[in-house]
Amino acid sequence: MDIVDRRLNPKAKSLGNRQRFLRRAKGEIRDAVRDAIKKRKIAEVEGGENVRIRSKSLREPSFGLGHGTGQRDFVLPGNREYSVGDVIRKPDGGSGGSGSKGSSDGSGEDDFVFNLSRDEFLDIFFEDLKLPNLVKAKLKDMRSPQPVRAGHTTDGPPARLNHTRTMRKSMARRIALHRPRLQDLEELETEIARHEARDPRDEAHLTALKAKLSRLSYLRKVVAYIDPLDLQYNRLERRPKPKTQAVMFCLMDVSASMTEPLKDLAKRFFMLLHLFLTRHYAEVDLVFIRHTTEAQEVDEETFFKATETGGTIISTALVEMMKIIKDRYSPADWNIYAAQASDGHNFDDDMEQCLQMLEGDILPCTQYFAYIEVGQEDGMHGMSSVAWSGYEEIAGRHEHFAMRKASSPGDIYPVFRELFATSELRASGACP
């Protein structure tokens, strides 16, 4: 008899099956992910998810006998009161031929819940947004691990040899083991030579000296100058390196004209931006400012849920944002990003003030300001909205100001392509 420990076998043997399964159920899973995104908070895009799917494409049919027709005989255990000839009424009006038998190994595969891992979830999320693959890879590994010194070790590549420590250990060992110095040997040799030259020779002393010499040279041979024991290497550990901190302002118009689908679109936009930022910065604060004719800072829940009535004055949000920057996020310490989502409505005479604030206060202290206009494609037939035509003026002058229209999730990504292009540019160019 053999006992084998299979626990050591490589894990995730069923990964291949899982991938095939996910591919198969893609349509359903994508729908489920969409639903999940609606429920999620922006900062929680990453992370697994329990997905419930209705598995139509996952059915595995086989020939089986029909239910509820024909004649069947069966035996049951646990008779208490029945005797031959008794009749028993069927459970539900005679529809189920043998109600008590139920579906023995039938197809109870209507819907079931399973867990999607973070990567699988993001994959599907990205796919919806039509991200290029390169970007996906970058996004997924958000924190680049950095080698960090972490003590010393006795093993490693030659390049990491720590000379000082190695020599220190070597010296300690040499002293402890009484390794003779070269100088001592030479002195002894000259002394022997002197004695040999002398006449008459002191033979006894000479043999003692020679014996000492041979003992010392033997010791020198046996106790190495540097022994493998002495070697010390610098140890490097790869730790995810936190980068500096950033704050992301989410500004959104919540007037009645922003319908649920538009908000959903805006939410994806915010989510993606957040994901981008978390890749660059270890900590990203989120600030939500909603506005109608006046602005207020709210929590995420209220931000996406509550609907207000009334008109729209965008500048109120900008004022609120500046106030918060002054209070809490000094541009010296924080990288400031702003994302604004709106359906483009604004009071005509407010635009001037908006542009002034943007150019004068906000754009100089932000890393990036993205404006996204959500709405039905056919809605603005050639006609630009108030906000759009206003912002268009300054867009040309500031390269870290981006604006886009989006009517479907697929339109959102191009905004970020620009963001990426500029940030890569900045990284490769002369950094401030």
Partner: protein, 519 residues
């Protein structure tokens, strides 16, 4: 308290005391078990290989129909996700062990089992199931324990190769269709095999006979004078075609593998792989009660013998009794936990009952089972049963009136036309035989599976494949799944497929389904 019930052997130390186990201990305990199982009870087993696995690996084995090293398919991923979900929620506990009918016999045991459970599962699987696999006639006839692991390795590699060459989707499409027909991929009767040389001998003998009995006079008889001997050309051709195709054929997968006009070689090989697996599992489906009954009875016997000689502590024995009694629990039909007969319960009860009849028979037992009641040879009687029966025949042959009374079995008849079911027989003098017959029929796989055969394949004309379902007891196929499964048949056949449902007794057509392959 327990002292009077057991022969105390003070010099024997218990094999273990706590719940912890290590490989040393498992080995020592296995040796003790084998000494009893093989040495005393005379079980005949394949060499065992015990493999310790984690929960994840157990889930994995579940998902791929209990086989190690299975080829890849999305349905296994789906089952894995489902099982995992239920396991994580705590809705379902995992099995303590899993055993493969192979030589050497592979026993998977879970790492989180206590030492008592490891002892139990080794006695159960490594002795009980193992003996059954090696000795039951169905397994001997249909499965080849020595080659199954190699075959699985081959299958996995072959499927992977096909995926590389032809793409995952293409392979999946074939496997999907093949899996749908898995239950129709079984040959229920051993094929008559004759080698080429035997066939040649036969042909030679026939010719010699013709030459020896040649009579000139038959040449002078005009051909038209023998109308009955010369059927018209058309029907003769179709008869000949049926004969060369081996029709009617119950093994759909076999037929498609050999004769589907459009399949490529690798697709045929895939069908063959699925068919071989279906065939490999067929004996297990037919012997659930016996197989589990045998294993449960063997573990019960071995554990008790170990306890009797002091190799198990009382604590272990209590743990064992707790787990054993929950395994063999049979809820009554009204119970909300009732989900059909528990094969462990029925199997174990029958084995215990046979033991009782061998050792302490009543007058009733002597009347019903004259050939073994009171023969005193429990193990011999059981081994004979384990070797030569399957579930339905076993129940028919060995179920005693006492057992039927104990289970309080009663037989019902359900006609869908009426709103009530009728009690036909109960556990009394008049009813025993009928109850037993009906219970046995419930375990007859060939009666439970729909009887579907290939009856015609037009290879020269429209290439239509005709299947026939022989409807028994007025129960036609479930129309919804039938439609979808038929699509899979059409996909493999490549042309139009027709399924005719006819009454088995009158031959009258009930229903027809027809489908075309999707472009």
């Amino acid at each position: 308290m327990n002292a009077p019930f057991r022969n105390i052997a003070p010099d024997v130390e218990p094999l273990f005391k706590g719940a912890e186990w290590d490989f040393e201990l498992v080995k020592k305990t296995y040796d003790a078990i084998e000494k009893i199982g093989v040495g005393e009870m005379g079980l005949d087993i394949y060499p065992n290989q015990i493999e310790v696995i984690t929960a994840e690996q157990m889930l994995d084995a579940y998902a791929s129909i209990g086989m190690p090293n299975m080829y890849r398919h999305w349905s296994f991923g789906k089952h894995f996700a489902r099982e995992e979900g239920m396991y994580r929620k705590g809705g379902r506990a995992l099995a303590y062990e899993l055993v493969i009918n192979s030589n050497p016999c592979i026993n998977y045991i879970m790492e989180e089992n206590t030492m008592t459970m490891q002892t139990l599962v080794m006695a159960h699987a490594a002795m009980g199931h193992n003996h059954f696999f090696k000795n039951n006639y169905l397994f001997k006839q249909w499965t080849d324990a020595t080659s199954i692991l190699d075959y699985l390795a081959f299958a996995k590699e072959y499927v992977t190769e096909c995926e590389e060459k032809h793409g995952v989707e293409a392979v999946e499409a074939v496997l999907d269709s093949a899996h749908a027909l898995m239950n129709q991929g079984i040959s229920r009767h051993p094929a008559k095999r004759s080698s080429i040389s035997q066939q040649r001998d036969k042909a030679n003998k026939r010719r010699e006979h013709e030459e020896a009995t040649y009579n000139e006079i038959w040449r002078t008889v005009p051909r038209s004078a023998l109308p009955s001997l010369a059927p018209d050309a058309d029907s003769r051709a179709s008869l000949q075609e049926s004969a060369t195709l081996g029709l009617p054929q119950e093994n759909l997968l076999y037929f498609l593998e050999k004769h589907a006009p459009k399949l490529e070689d690798w697709q045929r090989e895939l069908l063959r792989i699925v068919r071989m697996l279906a065939q490999y599992f067929y004996p297990q489906r037919q012997t659930k009660v016996m197989n589990e009954g045998c294993a449960t009875w063997v573990h019960y016997e071995i554990m008790n013998r170990m306890y009797d000689r002091g190799q198990l502590t009382e604590g272990s024995m209590l743990e064992f009794m707790h787990s054993h009694s929950s395994v063999v629990f049979q809820p009554k039909f009204e119970d909300k936990y009732y989900n059909g007969m528990n094969p462990y319960a029925l199997g174990f009860a029958m084995m215990q009952d046979i033991k009782r009849m061998c050792e302490e028979p009543t007058a009733e037992d002597r009347e019903w089972f004259p050939d073994f009641a009171g023969n005193g040879d429990t193990l011999g009687t059981l081994k004979d049963a384990w070797a030569n029966f399957r579930d339905d025949s076993f129940i028919l042959q060995y179920m005693s009136p006492k057992l039927m009374r104990d289970f309080r079995f009663f037989a019902l008849h359900d006609n869908s036309a009426f709103p009530v079911v009728e009690v036909k027989s109960i556990h009394d003098e008049k009813g025993y035989r009928n109850v037993r017959k009906m219970l046995a029929a419930q375990y007859d796989t060939s009666a439970r599976d729909p009887d579907i055969q290939v009856v015609n394949a037009d290879l020269s004309g429209g290439r239509r494949l005709t299947l026939q379902h022989r409807v028994r007891n007025n129960i036609p196929l479930d129309p919804d799944t039938c439609e979808r499964t038929l699509h899979h048949v059409a996909h493999l056949w490549g042309y139009r497929v027709k399924l005719i449902e006819v009454y088995a007794d009158t031959g009258k057509t009930v229903k027809e389904h027809e489908t075309l392959p999707l472009p």
